[in-house]
Amino acid sequence: MFRNYAVTSLRNLRKHFGYTSINLIGLTLGLTVTLQIFLFVQSELSYDRFHKDAEDLYRITLDGSFSGTILNAPISPAPMANALVNDFPDVVAATRLYTFRGERMVRKGATEFLEDGIILADSTFFDVLTFPLLQGNPETALARPSTVVLTQTIALKLFGSSDPMGETIILADSTVFEVTGIVADPPQNSHIQFTILESMTGFQQAESDFWVSNNFFTYLKLQKGSTADGFEAKLPAWYKQYAGPQIEAAFGKSYDEILTGQNYLRYHLQPMLDVHLRSNFTIDNQVPGDIAYVYLFIAVAFFILLLACINFMNLATARSAVRATEVGIRKIVGSSRNQLIGQFLSESILMAVFAMIFAVGLVFVTTPIFNSMTGLNVNASFLLRPGILAVLALGALTVGILAGSYPAFFLSSFKPVSVIKGRSSMTQSSPRLRNALVVFQFGISVALLIGTLVVNDQLSFIQNKRLGFIKENVILIENAGKLRDQSDAFKNSLRELTSIIAVGGTTAIPGSLHGADALIPEGFEREDFILTSPVMVDYDYIEAMGIELAMGRAFSRDFPSDSAAIILNEAALAKIGWDDPLGKLVYEFEGTDGQQISKEVVGIVRDYHFKSMREEIGSLSLKLGTRPMPTLVVRTDGKNTAETLRFIEQEWDAIVPDQPLNYSFLDEKFDLLYSSDQRLGRVFSSFALFAIVIAGLGLFGLGMFVTEQRTKEIGLRKAMGASVSQIVIMLSRDFTRLVLLAIVLAVPLAWYGMNEWLDGFVYRTELQFGSFLLAAAIALAIALLTVTVQSIKAAMSDPIKALNHN
């Protein structure tokens, strides 16, 4: 029986090759998008599951607020990990990680290179986390000072085929480390990424007993069955017992007096399995994913697949007249309705299976494109695992049933007598449903198009908004700390070149991490301090960055007292509320003993975006740094960048020949802040493209069908003197109406959705009427193009031929 169905289906599909290919292409595209998203979602959801007892692992996070500045990061004080293990029987083990900012030099003999994946880890690293050691003993590998565990890749890079165990390497400048273990490379779906684990033992900061500074990432393993909730509840009192005395010593007020009202400090346990997708911290030791995007992508996949299924339904029912005779005959020779439903379903399932096979093939082609677009690293070969193949087969079955059920029920309902009598009007499907489906398809496409355009609008808004500094034509030298006391000599030598306009130095360029320091303005109570982001700069930084002054002056070599000067931004001034700030004093704490030093306000800079536009411009303080700055900013005239760079490199090599110059461009660096938004933009556009192609295909098929059906009418009208344009208008009018309706329905939905997205930015563009208009125009143009091409063909054809048709 199935053979009979299959044979009929295959022959029918072959005979109507045009429709078959439209259906097949549509389904294949839909499934390709779905599979691609399936790969993405499974990769995102698989993060950190490889750890043994992953559901018992937690990361400590801190959320706190001081005078309106919110601190929210997965960081904790150095003594916390040990104290937790000692004080709570529920804590089986704890381990700390410490990451350095930027890259460090790795050297072994003549081999040397910069590495940014070096992290410090406690000896308990392997007790908590599951990173299998290929060589070495997990109990002792990181126990001694000056030992390292290398990943396989790094071991191979440094030692080739010889055994690295017990050998030594040199990290940073001169410290010698002994290799005590080789660890497998961390899997791609681990939020903790590293290339070298350096022993925390002997690291001075790690031995600190100071509970008020948070510099470590702490991971815990809890007893099976103990809940994080019960545990978290005990933390505040416990923390106070250690931190209370230290806070009192530093601030001169008790813990309770300081942490009241708006001010608070809370530690939480973040489940390990939430770390990748549910982290939104200002500081993090990973590039987190976003569960919202996972949901968004699932929704998009669902809709695109639905669009493809709708194509299938629409074409199958539109063409039902063609199949009606067969249905009638089969019923007359003894088929029951269920058998016919079975036949049509197996036909659509067959189609879905073919589409699935093509889609899997296509995913292998598109995955590299998808990866480069999203910056992710999904692996298409995951689809070929036996379990997943079964899922795919089930998927094809589901899609086949989803797409085929309506046509199957519809077609099998034909009464044989009406077919035999040739009353074909009775066998037409309701055009109302078909029209509704077309409206739905185009509505989705228009909404996705609007989404694409709005995301792009916002990105260009960000790029063009006045930042308060000039990001173009600035070269950053990020390892300028290497210059040590030669820093000034180097800066001076750069100034010789005419194409270099200014050279300044800083501890934090816009877009990089900014800390928070307490300042007590003159005349304020001690506990009424304000938090500002402190940035150390040199004399020329303000000029080199193009930062504008609102009041007063920049740091100047003409004022020797400027080492005790401070420059605030307008936001900080607004918070303090002074009318005339110049010459006023602010006090800072220095060290852990709460000693106060005063600084004189000499200038106010206009607010500039030193953080992402998702965040409001906060209070900022600029102070003159005495030590050499880790980052130099070199403003050029932008005319011959290659030449300028060569000059900089040459000067660099003259001072530190053994260190490579590490440079980048400020505008590129700053744009990185929006890389996830840009990714969203690109992914959105490609989805919109897919959706509109699928919807266009469907409309193309319907147009083909309607034109075919009306060939005789067209011939008659032409014979009566209708012009080609009149006929084209007649044929296109119905579809145009549907697309217009789709636009009307999609616009409010898209408006609402995109407004929500834009609200995530403090600095956002308004929704542009033009974007909506453009999306509508694109959808309409595509619809008209697909339908009109066929109408013109039909309208141009010879009326005699048309009238002889049937």
């Binding site: 029986m1 022959r11 005959i329 007359i332 003894g334 029951s336 309705r337 035999i420 009598k421």
Partner: protein
């Protein structure tokens, strides 16, 4: 076998009721060869569709083997089709995408007959109709007469007790039509299959033992036609 009592078929057109069949009373016994004649629109085809249970009468009762058809469920009706009734149409109505062999096989598949038995039944039918060489051709590759023979063979393969033929020769040349009608006669005489055919033509009608004439939805004449049959018989055998 068939008993119609006061069968009426009408359609509502706006406020007017159009009658296609009016008050038909008819009895047909097993083994009869009946021709239904009448001008266009006299209700011949509708009568045949009602007899074949493809259409339902507006009123009246139809008993098939003493069972009232109106009370039979859809599923039982499908079973009755499979078991007892074969159809032959003017437009042949073969499935275009299936070969001759597959067209003949289709009813057997629906009857869930096993593979080996199915093969021998199709082979026998192909053999009987001299179409073994054409078994792998598609309907569009056959002449009209050949297509209609496949249609007859398909009706016959279910070994029905009743064959309903709606102008079976309407699209055929005379010589092709005679081959088809010859088959009907042989099936009727040799296997005792009841045959009811609808036709315009007196010539083809005369193959039947009994001619029912319809006019404006009423039975206007109902004659046994033994004499004409015997003369026509010699005519066909000589051709």
């Amino acid at each position: 076998m068939i008993k119609l009592e006061k069968i009426t078929k009408s359609y509502l057109h706006g406020f007017n009721r159009t009658f296609v069949l009016r008050n038909i009373n008819l009895e047909i016994s097993e083994g009869e060869f009946v021709s239904v004649m009448g001008p266009s629109g006299s209700g011949k085809s509708t009568l045949l569709h009602i007899l074949g249970m493809l259409d339902e009468p507006s009123s009246g009762t139809y008993c098939f083997f003493d069972k009232p058809v109106q009370k039979i469920s859809n599923r039982k009706r499908t079973d009755l089709h499979r078991e007892y009734i074969g159809f032959v149409f003017q437009a042949y109505h073969l499935i275009d995408d299936l070969t001759v062999y597959e067209n003949l096989e289709t009813p057997l598949l629906y009857k869930k007959i096993k593979g080996s038995e199915r093969k021998s039944m199709v082979a026998e039918m192909l053999d009987r109709f001299n179409m073994v060489a054409k078994r792998d051709l598609f309907p569009s590759q056959l002449s009209g007469g050949q297509q209609q023979l496949v249609g007859v063979a398909r009706a016959l393969i279910m070994q029905p007790k009743l064959i309903l033929a709606d102008e079976p020769t309407g699209n055929l040349h005379t010589s092709q039509g005679e081959v088809v009608m010859d088959w009907f006669r042989r099936l009727n005489k040799e296997l005792g299959v009841t045959i009811i055919q609808v036709t315009h033509s007196e010539h083809w009608a005369s193959y039947g033992d009994r001619i029912i004439e319809l006019e404006d939805g009423r039975v206007s004449a109902d004659n046994s036609a033994t004499e004409t049959v015997s003369t026509e018989l010699s005519h066909t055998e000589s051709s």
